[in-house]
């Protein structure tokens, strides 16, 4: 029913991901995570089709700033277990997986850093476990039930890419999202191809391991009959009354989750949030601006510390 993907990374990548692997059993699945440093926890959440490696250049500066940094790999991605049945995946299940890890580690005063599907899952965790959460950082994601962007309603390329049979063929057999998809969604593509692309492709080596890359797009609600419509409706409502300190960071070049639409909407939902801060980046802005993002998060948390802010 699943593929154990704790196989080692190639030596060329191990140098850039030197962190001790840790594993937790969450809802019966084996979740990989890293846990570095000491202090109030900062939890870095990735989305589709990435894994903790996306945050490789943010861990050290945050740890150096006196934070405990925890980076889980979503079940189905990275070095976590990869179920081979689509039915193993649902939005609430992934939120419950994160909740299980946070409770096992008994984390409190958490700062959640949410990107892509790390947004709906991380923010759902935050809204259902507010006593454990201190602050939010939101990047290139969404939290409302209507289609996130006009892009997601279009047949070319979005709906075609994950359509029945075409999703398993393009994203499974041909690795369209984990390979070229991420490549197209960074600014410095040459550097990405030279230094990072292999890390995303290596951990999803076979079509069956890429299942979640076409399952997640199918969870984006396109109308009110969609499976996750009510969950997103709840999430938007909960966020609109949240007083959690928040920081919004967005990629200036993000054409899909464009800042003018998405960062602005988060600002309306969370008017007390800092930002939006625009950095160089498309959807995977961490690939282009990790040091700057780490600095923004670090200074945001320093200000919270100085103000004695405590959720």
């Amino acid at each position: 029913m699943s593929i154990q993907s704790d196989s080692v990374l190639p030596a060329t990548l191990r140098d850039r991901w030197p962190y001790a692997p840790r594993y937790a059993n969450v809802n019966g699945w084996r979740m990989h995570y890293v846990d570095e440093g000491e202090g109030d926890p900062v939890v870095l959440l990735h989305g589709n089709p990435t894994w903790g490696f996306l945050y490789r250049d943010m861990i050290a500066p945050l740890v150096g700033g006196g934070r405990r940094v925890i980076v889980p790999d979503m079940i189905g991605f990275g070095l976590s277990e990869k179920p081979t049945r689509e039915q193993a995946h649902c939005l609430d299940g992934h939120t419950a997986n994160l909740t299980a890890l946070m409770r096992q580690l008994d984390l409190t005063r958490i700062t959640l850093v949410c990107h892509d599907w790390g947004g709906p899952t991380g923010l759902s965790f935050a809204m259902s476990n507010p006593a454990r959460v201190r602050a939010l950082t939101i990047m290139s994601t969404w939290a409302w039930p209507r289609p996130p962007a006009e892009f997601h309603t279009r047949i070319f390329p979005w709906r075609m890419m994950h359509a029945p049979l075409i999703g398993p063929y393009l994203l499974g057999n041909h690795r369209a999202l984990a390979g070229r998809g991420v490549y197209l969604s960074v600014v410095d593509r040459e550097r990405f191809a030279d230094t990072a692309q292999a890390a995303y492709e290596t951990v999803l080596p076979d079509p069956a391991t890429r299942l979640l890359t076409w399952v997640w797009p199918r969870w984006i609600p396109l109308d009110e009959n969609a499976r996750a419509f009510e969950r997103f409706k709840w999430l938007e409502q909960e966020l609109s009354s949240s007083k959690l300190p928040a920081l919004i960071i967005w990629g200036r070049e993000d054409e899909v989750f464009d800042a003018a639409t998405f960062a602005s909407r988060f600002k309306r939902l969370l008017p007390h949030a800092e930002g939006p801060h625009l950095v160089t980046g498309r959807h995977f802005l961490q690939e282009d601006s990790a040091p700057e993002i780490a600095r923004l998060i670090g200074s945001f948390l320093d200000r919270l510390d100085a103000n004695g802010a405590k959720q």
């Binding site: 689509e86 029945p164 049979l165 393009l170 369209a176």
Partner: protein
């Protein structure tokens, strides 16, 4: 690229069914399920027999329809190449045939889905079969 056409069940003597592609959620967009129901008369035939198609390479493919309690039939679909029992498959040929099957499917599903958009998507992601003449 020549057409994909539904055919009657070929002789399977000396053959095996080699797994090629699976879809767990055929009705994610309901018009895709409707296409297969229509094409293979599945409301009448149900699970009684697979569908078969003839691909441009000359090979045959079996379409095994999957039922799931509580969901309209078929809920899923598995595609198998019908190949000589003890021979390995030709991966490139299989890939081109699958692409042809997808184009045939999209053509049958119809508007707003178009073969042109499928081809554009394939080229965007540099699928070799999408750039073949």
């Amino acid at each position: 690229m020549t057409e994909v056409t539904p055919i009657k069940m070929p002789s399977l003597e000396g053959k095996r069914l080699s797994f090629a592609l699976a879809e767990d959620r055929l009705a994610h967009y309901p018009e895709f399920r409707d296409f297969f129901v229509r094409t293979f008369d599945l409301d009448r035939k149900g699970l009684s027999e697979p569908g078969f198609v003839h691909a441009p390479s000359g090979g045959a493919y079996a379409l095994i329809f999957i039922g799931r309690s509580g969901a309209p039939f078929p809920s899923g679909l598995e595609i198998y190449a019908v190949v000589d029992a003890l021979e390995p498959i030709d991966g490139d040929l299989l890939d081109r045939d699958l692409w042809s099957v997808l184009r045939w499917m999209i053509g049958g599903v119809g508007a707003p889905w178009t073969v042109q958009d499928l081809d554009r998507t394939g080229r965007l992601y540099r699928v070799p079969a999408a750039s073949s003449p």
